[in-house]
Amino acid sequence: MAESLSYLTSVSSQLLSVDKISDDRYDCQIRDLIAYIKRSDKSLDTEFLLNNLNPSQHTLPYLFMLNLRVGSLQKKTRNTSPDEIKPGNDLWVKAVCFLRTFDPIQVRYAGNEWRRLIELIGQAAEAAAKPFLAVQVIRDAILRLDSLCGILSSVHVIFLRLCLLSRSYSYALPVLERQIFHFSTGQVQAYRKYIDHPLCSKNTPKDFFLSDASELSVKLTYRDHVQYFLYGGMIYMALKEWDKSLHWLSIVITSPVNDSVSKIMIEAYKKRMLAGLLGHGKLAPVPKTISSHVLKVFQSLTKPYMSLSEAFERNDFPRLRAEVDIGRSIWRIDNNEGLVSQLYNAYNSFLVLKLGRTFSALTTADVAQQAFTSLESSSKVENFVASLVMAGYLGATMLHLKSPGNATMLHFSGLPETYITRERGVRAWLAKEGQALKMITNGVDQCSNELKLGNENLQLVSKNQRWPDSSGKSGGNVIGEADGIGLEIDEDIMGDNN
């Protein structure tokens, strides 16, 4: 066994000097290493090797040993989640340590094993009713493998589900806030065969080593795709980031459909209605990309939510309360009871905000008279309004008056500092969008290269070469020709909109 250990450590130690050896040599050595492990897997003492290998240095052999050990225990105990992998036990500790320290280059060669380990950790934590234990580990592993996190994988879906189960919503943000700009299609472009970048090369596009073929992700289905965005929308709702949740839920409801809409889409549509009311005091406009027949299906299946929204938007508090009571069982079945219960507070907040659009100043007694029949006393109204102003939800200032009646005046017109605050907000937003833009720009560059070298464009080029007269040019700039086609498509799109 010492001989195996010596071989595994020496080969993987050489891999660590990745800057000193060429990509081809690295690729060759790592493939030999995998072949060696697969050849001798039955004779290896996995426990001994796990105790003597360093997961950050000997990532690949360590990962294989972990999988072999888990596999043999599963076979022995006939249990998919043996005791050793349960949280806190020996294999759990080893797996967690591995996922925190692995070498992301070596893992590219063992995608299936890496993914299986993540799935196992998730299952074990969930089985122990402690899903939180897997959340930080999986998040760190996702970011370690691909710091940009721009490619959707099955691990992302598992991760968001665990975040929801463990109520660790903000832990999902480092992954959620990275822009997804690639979806693994399973189809590898033909030209890729002719580009000789080994998996370990820093020039290898990330979508290549994260493709279905690498097995770092299982093949994503339609369901996985909509589920990911539904989960993301739900996490943003839990964090009360309504605009972001609306955006994520819009992605779900605008997903392509054949004849019928999916249950997940209906669920997203319901939640989106509530997010609109809670975030903006009204229903969010339906994206124009939803076809009319799909919209009709949505509307017919969400009638109780529609009635609730109408009552909210028309400032009809008695009806709102009645609708909330009538639909209680529906909200419970849909797991939207918590969101619906937040409507009362949102209703009161938006009433005050609406007054600000009509009046420039009111006393809090007037506010109580104009808006609130639900709150008992004017002092309660004053406290409520003060909390809105002090929390920054309401752009107004308050002025205690000299009069003996302890009156308070509310000035809705914002002071100059409101503009400063707004400007600061815009600046922060611009800076944030700038970061996103930077990442998307890199993605666009890559997509542009893909399009130039992609199957469709190559077919077009070969077609044009066969009929040189049809384009009016011979040879020439391929991209220029494609641009011409692009313009026609653009006009069609504009036509549809009109």
Partner: protein, 216 residues
């Protein structure tokens, strides 16, 4: 960097050595998974858990993550949360902060029995809460009665209402002006941290540079 195992001693070290509340929060959040593995059946572990979760709770408050503090209470072991006096105090405090019940916030912080380990954090939070509230009042009020200001800031509202000079002096020490005839205080807006501004400008410059590069 690997953290030392979670223990009462380590917890005390983390609290005393963290240079800022943000760092305290980050270090404690790294321990949450380890805390999750402890059992409340073991009395020593239950004591450690109680201390850990209460400290973690205060680190949320000190970094103004009220919503996150509320969510974190939902991750605590239910039995511990219901029985442990420190965590019950935390829940009372959370409720008061969430509802913006200022009188109750100060009452919970000052009158409830906090453990010796938590007392420094409780005092830090009281000072932080006062400072935060002061900024909010300065932004929200053009003029405010001394009694109302005293309630917001945890001072004695009765003596403030009677025009007690010591209380008024405390409030004017914040740069507010006192209109004796009207019996009103005029708050002075508190300036924002200039470092934050500079950081935003730097980030914006990066964006503009990026746009410039792409155009060419």
């Amino acid at each position: 960097m690997e953290l030392p195992p979670l223990s009462l001693q380590q917890l005390a070290t983390v609290v005393t050595s963290a240079p800022t509340p943000t760092e305290l929060y980050h270090t404690l959040s790294e321990y949450e998974a380890e805390a999750c593995l402890l059992s409340i059946q073991d009395s020593n572990q239950a004591e450690l858990l109680s201390q850990y979760y209460a400290t973690f709770f205060f680190s949320h408050l000190l970094t103004d993550q009220i919503r996150e503090a509320r969510i974190s209470t939902q991750r605590m072991p239910e039995n511990l949360l219901q029985k442990d006096p420190s965590l019950q105090n935390c829940l009372n405090l959370l409720r008061a902060v969430w509802q913006r019940n200022y009188e109750q916030v100060y009452r919970v912080l000052r009158e409830l029995p906090w453990s010796d380990q938590l007392k420094p954090l409780v005092q830090s939070y009281e000072a932080h809460f006062q400072e935060k509230t002061l900024k909010e009042i300065s932004r929200a009020y053009e003029a405010i009665r001394p009694a109302a200001a005293a309630t917001y800031l945890g001072l004695d509202p009765t003596s403030a209402a009677q025009g007690d000079s010591a209380t008024v002096q405390k409030l004017t020490a914040y740069g507010w002006t006192w209109d004796e005839e009207a019996g009103l205080l005029h708050p002075k807006p508190v300036a924002e941290d200039p470092q934050k501004e500079a950081r935003l400008y730097n980030e914006l410059s990066e964006v503009m540079a990026l746009i410039g590069n792409r155009r060419s």
